[in-house]
Structures are given as structure tokens and as C-alpha cells.
């Protein structure tokens, strides 16, 4: 088997780079109209690097909300990465801690999804960094482009491209779902719980994703273990 390296990672990260392109351009554009300078907009994309919270911060800035509140809100919205990082720890090969620390800086919903759904038992850090860099470069580069050009893509393309990241999530999920009922149940139950939170307004998006994913992962695991025990028990009684 060939070893997965940095360039394989860049290639695997291309769907994310495409998906970030319209989102980052729009962010650059909105940042400009909110009054952020090119450097402030880029600093946000380079140092914060978390789409949803960056968008929310623009809305809050324009409403004159206290920066402290914006920071706290960012924490809440991005805390879901804690769960992803813990899960990714089971997927990434052991490496020096400081390198993992740098790698972790660039973990997003999308890079996590690409890495965590790989078939390999453990992934080399170089591959993970390739995926991360492809996504990151697209994000800050097109933030700058959006701010500089100050115009968006043609409307039809802009709407069409807004499907990109969801199409990618589906493209990652479907091959794993094939012939694996547990994965189908995991995805479906988390989707249902998340819809419930959204439509009832019980939890904000950040928490809703954490709670629905955790609940689904826990409940499905408990049920499967019960089921396995029963099956084993039945086999024993037969023999």
C-alpha cells in the first residue's frame, strides 16, 4: 500500500476548497460593507478560520454589540470542534504533540468530515495537513478576493455553488452508508434530533449539532451493544 502524503491530502481537500470559494468571497464582501478593513477581514479568516462564527460576528458588529459578547458567542458556536477533535484523535496516527497542535488549528467541520470518513484505520499527519491546507488557502485567499473586488459571482452561480459543501457532506456519507446499517441509523437519528432542535428552537445551532451528534452516537452504540450481547447469548443457548 502506498503511504498517504501531503499531496494526496491536498487532492482530497479540493472539494472543500471549491466549497469554500463562494462562502469566503461573500464573507470578504460582507466584511467590507460592515466596515472591516482588508487586513481585519483577512485576520479573521487567517486567525479565527471558522465560517459560521465569522458571519455571525459581522452581524453583531453591525449591531454594535460588545466585542466581549462576540468572543463569547464565537466560543459557543465553535465548541463543536471539541467533539470533532476528540473523534479525530481516534483517526490520526500518533505524532509529535506540537505538530498535532498546529494541525488542530486548521480543523473545521469540512476537513474533519473528509478525514474522519476515510477508510484507513489511521491517517498520517502529513495527509491531514494537506487536506487542511487546501481548505485554509481557499478560505483566506477568497476572503481577500471578495474584499478587494467588492463584487460577487453572477447570481445563478452564487446560488448554485451554495450547495457545494452540502453535496460534499452527502458525497462523503453515502459511500460509508452503503451496506452499513449502523452508519445509516447514526446519520438519520442525528439528523432527526437536529431537525427537532431547530424547529422547536430549543437549542442554538452550535449546541444543537453537539447534542444531536453525541446523543445519536451514544444511543446507537448502547443499542448495538445490547443487541450483540443478546445475539451472542442466543448463540450460546443453541450450542
Amino acid at each position: 500500500m502506498t503511504k498517504l502524503g501531503f499531496f494526496n491530502g491536498l487532492k482530497a481537500g479540493m472539494p472543500i476548497a471549491i466549497g469554500y470559494f463562494p462562502v469566503a468571497i461573500t464573507f470578504g464582501l460582507l466584511a467590507k460593507s460592515t466596515g472591516l478593513s482588508l487586513f481585519e477581514a483577512m485576520a479573521m479568516s487567517i486567525f479565527v478560520y471558522a465560517g459560521a462564527s465569522q458571519y455571525i460576528s459581522l452581524t453583531l458588529i453591525s449591531k454594535g454589540v460588545d466585542p466581549i459578547v462576540i468572543v463569547l458567542n464565537t466560543f459557543v458556536v465553535n465548541f463543536r470542534h471539541f467533539l470533532m477533535s476528540a473523534s479525530l484523535n481516534e483517526k490520526m496516527a500518533a505524532d509529535k504533540k506540537w505538530r498535532k497542535g498546529i494541525f488542530a488549528f486548521l480543523v473545521t467541520d469540512e476537513t474533519f468530515s473528509v478525514l474522519a470518513t476515510r477508510k484507513e484505520e489511521r491517517l498520517p499527519l502529513a495527509f491531514g495537513c494537506g487536506v487542511n491546507i487546501a481548505a485554509y488557502t481557499s478560505w483566506w485567499l477568497f476572503t481577500a478576493v471578495g474584499h478587494l473586488i467588492g463584487a460577487n459571482l453572477p447570481l445563478f452561480l452564487q446560488s448554485a455553488m451554495s450547495i457545494a459543501l452540502y453535496a460534499m457532506f452527502i458525497g462523503l456519507l453515502v459511500p460509508s452508508m452503503k451496506g452499513n446499517r449502523k452508519i445509516v441509523i447514526l446519520a438519520a437519528s442525528a439528523a432527526l434530533i437536529n431537525c427537532l432542535f431547530y424547529w422547536t428552537n430549543w437549542l442554538t445551532t452550535g449546541w444543537a449539532i453537539i447534542v444531536s451528534a453525541l446523543a445519536s452516537a451514544l444511543i446507537v452504540e448502547i443499542v448495538y451493544r445490547r443487541f450483540d450481547k443478546k445475539k451472542k447469548g442466543a448463540q450460546h443457548s443453541l450450542t
Partner: protein, 104 residues
């Protein structure tokens, strides 16, 4: 934008980085109980479900069908087993035609 916005960006960066970094650096090398490991291995598929739904219905404001069409196309292409990049490009392509027909 005054100096306080730089402090705000720094604060945002810090509170975003910590949850990303703490598990990956501190959990490495620690043997977790098998049950917890299994739960963590379930997480990606659960998160994908939660990332897709219900957001897919709201991809285009006021047009639920837009996201549903994109999802169906993506599902179909993904089911055929091709690389994810074609799933993404295919969904964009179909929705570009749809947008040209109904929104331009």
C-alpha cells in the same frame, strides 16, 4: 474599526483554537475505554447527518426545493461510487441550470 477589533479577533481566535487543539494534543497516547472509543468513532457519521439536516432545506431562502434537488442529485452521483469532487461539481452544475431557468 478601532484597536478593540484587533483584541476581539484575537479573542475569537483563541476561543476557537482551544476546543480544536485540546483533545488532539491531550488525548493522544491515552487509552480510552472501548465503549468511549466506539462512541467517538460513531461521531463523524452522526455529525454529517446533523450538518446536512435541516440546513439543506435552507440553502436558498424561500425555496426548499432548491436544496432538496441538490441533495437528490448529490445522493445519486455519490451512490454511483465516483470521487467526491464529481458529486460536488455535478450538484453545482444541475443547480446552475435550475437557477438559470427559474431565477435569471
Amino acid at each position: 474599526m478601532g484597536i478593540s477589533y484587533w483584541w476581539m479577533i484575537l479573542g475569537m481566535a483563541l476561543v476557537t483554537y482551544l476546543p480544536r487543539a485540546v483533545p488532539l494534543t491531550f488525548l493522544q497516547g491515552i487509552e480510552l475505554p472501548p465503549f468511549l472509543t466506539s462512541v467517538l468513532r460513531n461521531i463523524p457519521f452522526a455529525i454529517l447527518g446533523a450538518l446536512i439536516f435541516p440546513a439543506i432545506f435552507y440553502v436558498k431562502q424561500g425555496d426548499y426545493f432548491f436544496g432538496i434537488l441538490g441533495a437528490v442529485v448529490a445522493f445519486g452521483i455519490a451512490y454511483s461510487g465516483v470521487n467526491v469532487i464529481f458529486v460536488v461539481l455535478g450538484a453545482i452544475g444541475v443547480l446552475a441550470i435550475y437557477s438559470l431557468m427559474f431565477y435569471v
